[in-house]
Amino acid sequence: MAHHHDHDFFIPAPSIWAPLSCIGGGIMAFGFLFTLHPTDFGMSASIAHLIMAMGFTLLAFCVFQWWRLLVHEARHRGFKEGSVPVVLDLANRYGMVFFIASEVMFFAAFFAAFFYLSGMNVWPPENIETLTLHLPTVNTLLLLTSGVTVTWAHHAMQEGNRSRTRKMIFLTYLLGVIFLSCQMYEYHHASFALHDGVYGSTFYMLTGFHGFHVFVGSIMLMVLHLRLSQGDFSAKEHFYFEATAWYWHFVDVVWIGLYLFVYLLPNGGHH
């Protein structure tokens, strides 16, 4: 470096991916709006969908490029012990923890709505035929197992056993994908819909947002798997691994809340 730095902070160069992803997000928001009210904006529903899809594509492309840049920068630093400055590692860790905290608060809003509405109504409402506990119980086992496999993978990583790490990560997102398939199956066979009063509202919004987070977590795990097979990370330096594992555990904990309060307790009280 031509310029002397007396600090370890990372000061990135100007970047097009952040503002461009804002433009993508902005177009997507407008596209979504047009989809909700196509006639008010004098356009056909398909045009509205197209605008939304274009916005999403641009956003996804920018996120992909931004992520690639992060990987590139991580590789440039290397994964040897001590190659990542302590302050940088700390910043990343703090950042991920606070991000998860904000997600927890988002779910808290929906859980609050659930407790409020289930408390003020007969629960489950009389016209609702609740789901059997079989599939949700299987789903609970799937996610709990995936929590074990991701921890196993982390131990293998710390011991330097890369092939076991990869196997365990593969298993983790496989469990995630099976979970999502079960969730789809459940949605298709449920006798109530999103618009069937407060029961349908709280059930689908809570499990739906959770499912979306499982989806995002699975993608993070797939990227992790890919990066592992490309030789990234070491026994000591694997922040992205840990961030993904934290996120996965968070998704796991939310599910346990859902299983207990949305599936199990109302059913237990009713029958």
Binding site: P14, C22, L33, F98
Partner: protein
């Protein structure tokens, strides 16, 4: 473009702004550029929100309809406003002032000064910082364009309570534009808050322990925590509103077993802390300004820090004081009332500490200091009227009257606005290297001070007399005081032109400031004005 190419600017403090085009500002990751862009955005939306207020005051200047319900011409233009337009004005005045003027103004000052004040070269996540800024224009655009869609802008108040905002009563796209706008602004706010927290916890210079941080940094840190905890809850509330309106859910719909009061709970869980998001940074600024211009260290620094933390924690537990009239359990009302009263204690500590800082100090009445002193006096009025509003039995009488409008404007205008002004006059020379005109600043201050009291003080009486808020017509007994409010409001609006002229003129032609025009002791005064690209040639060591 490489990191070196940018850091080559070191040493030349003249930043040759002519070279910085749109692409530079679009892609910049520099916290000082982003801070300035936030401030400029806040100014723009302040003007728009201010014009809405002028419309409201013009309509309310006399009893009967002034602008509504009969077409009138100004030159070649013919205007025709329905009563619904008045509703849109009140809703969007608050929306723009809260989400697009006050909050971005504080975020802008924080972006520029927090890294410098802790001895850091930038924010923790500079690219994310860029994202947090550039999503805002789209959010603002959604809000602004809602005026031009069928059904117009949302007209159900900035609080957007269902059932007024349900698909049945607000069928047009405007309401959904508000919701999506809040989503984008909320995402900006959450990611920005993560950036502030990580910056403050992780990037302090050697020796800058937490309890050596300037009060402004503390206030931004605690504000960021509030944003991180509360904003996702607002996102949840408006998401439920969106799905209720468009996808058939029943969260707030009685027919499906839902409850509109649930919305109020979730909404105020964000929006009461939001009041602190809009006032704590002001407390921080006032603490810096008063200490500097009293030539004394801040009195009771440690208690000031704990008072901010105490206000923030209590502030998360009082939301239902906005809902005393919905028929809550009286025991719950008692609890929320008592918790709200408690906030008076840490707030009182702050006010007395500011007074004690000035006591026997060598006071220097710069424009910034004038705004700060006015803040201490007038914000206290807003704090005291808040305690009046928080007393449940009193609130039954004054709920939804002009008393509440008076209260919140003594918080947001006498509080947030005056503190932002104190901050702008204080830090402008650091940001632009030139001093603002003190003469024009003094005129700006005195006119603002007089007109804001003329505008907002009579509203207390109007409220106690029973004048309801958000209604375009009123009983003629309220006429005289309303006319007074309107005269004050037009004066107040016109006065702000002085601020704009002063800022833009001084940025080019003001007296050169030098690095420390006020004799300040915090780190930003130890670097040149404007500061070098990455703030410090050498990371400072704090003793």
């Amino acid at each position: 473009m490489s990191a070196e190419a940018i850091s080559d600017n070191h040493g030349h403090h003249d930043h040759a702004p002519s070279k910085k085009g749109f692409m530079y500002y679009l892609t910049t990751t520099n916290h000082k550029d982003i801070g300035k862009m936030y401030l400029l955005t806040a100014l723009n939306f302040f003007i728009i929100g201010g014009l809405f207020a002028m419309f409201i005051r013009a309509e309310l200047a006399e009893a009967g309809y002034q602008l509504l319900n009969h077409p009138f011409s100004v030159g070649p233009f013919t205007f025709s406003f329905s009563g619904e337009f008045f509703n849109q004005m009140t809703a969007m005045h608050a929306t723009f002032m809260i989400f697009f003027a006050i909050i971005p103004a504080f975020i802008g000052l924080g972006n520029f000064f927090v890294p410098i004040m802790i001895g850091s070269p930038d924010m923790a996540f500079p690219r994310l910082n860029n994202w947090s800024f550039w999503i805002l224009p789209f959010s603002g655009l959604l809000m602004l364009l809602s005026f031009f869609v069928p059904g117009g802008a949302p007209g159900a108040g900035w609080t957007s309570y269902p059932p007024l905002t349900s698909a049945a009563y607000s069928p047009g796209p405007g309401m959904d534009m508000w919701i999506l706008g809040i989503h984008l602004a909320g995402a900006s706010s959450i990611l920005g808050s993560i950036n502030f927290i990580v910056t403050t916890l992780n990037m302090r210079a050697p020796g800058m322990t937490l309890f050596k941080m300037p009060l402004f940094v503390w206030s931004m840190l605690v504000t960021a925590w509030l944003q991180l905890i509360a904003t996702p809850v607002l996102a949840g509330a408006v998401t439920m509103l969106l799905t209720d309106r468009n996808f058939g859910t029943s969260f707030f719909n009685m027919a499906g077993g839902g409850d509109p009061v649930l919305y109020q709970h979730i909404f105020w869980f964000y929006s009461h802390p939001a009041v602190y998001i809009m006032i704590l940074p002001g407390f921080g600024i006032i603490s810096e300004v008063i200490a500097t211009f009293s030539r004394k260290p801040l009195f009771g620094y440690i208690t000031m820090v704990w008072a901010i933390i105490g206000i923030a924690v209590l502030g998360c537990l009082v939301w239902a004081h906005h809902m005393f009239t919905v028929g809550m359990d009286p025991r719950a009302q008692m609890m929320f009332m008592a918790m709200t009263f408690l906030i008076g204690v840490p707030t009182g500590i702050k006010v007395f500490n500011w007074l004690a800082t000035m006591w026997e100090g060598v006071l220097e009445f710069t424009t910034s200091m004038k705004f700060a002193i006015a803040f201490v006096g007038l914000f206290t009025i807003g704090g005291l009227s808040g305690i009046v509003c928080a007393a449940a039995p009193v609130d039954y009488q004054i709920h939804d009257t002009y008393y509440v409008v008076a209260h919140i404007h003594y918080v947001f205008f006498a509080g947030s606005f005056l503190s932002i002004m104190a901050g702008v006059y204080y830090w402008f020379p650091k940001m632009f290297g030139r001093l603002m005109s003190e003469k024009m600043g003094s005129v700006h201050f005195w006119l603002t001070f007089i007109f804001m009291n003329v505008t907002f003080f009579p509203m207390h009486f109007l409220g106690l007399m029973g004048m309801p808020r958000r209604i375009p017509d009123y009983n003629p007994v309220f006429s005289d005081l309303n006319l007074l409010c309107s005269i004050g409001a037009f004066g107040l609006g016109a006065t702000q032109i002085l601020l704009i002229i002063n800022a833009f003129w001084s940025a080019k032609h003001g007296k050169l400031a030098g690095s420390n025009p006020w004799g300040g002791h915090t780190l930003e005064w130890q670097v040149s004005s404007p500061p070098p690209e990455h703030n410090f040639e050498k990371i400072p060591v704090v003793k």
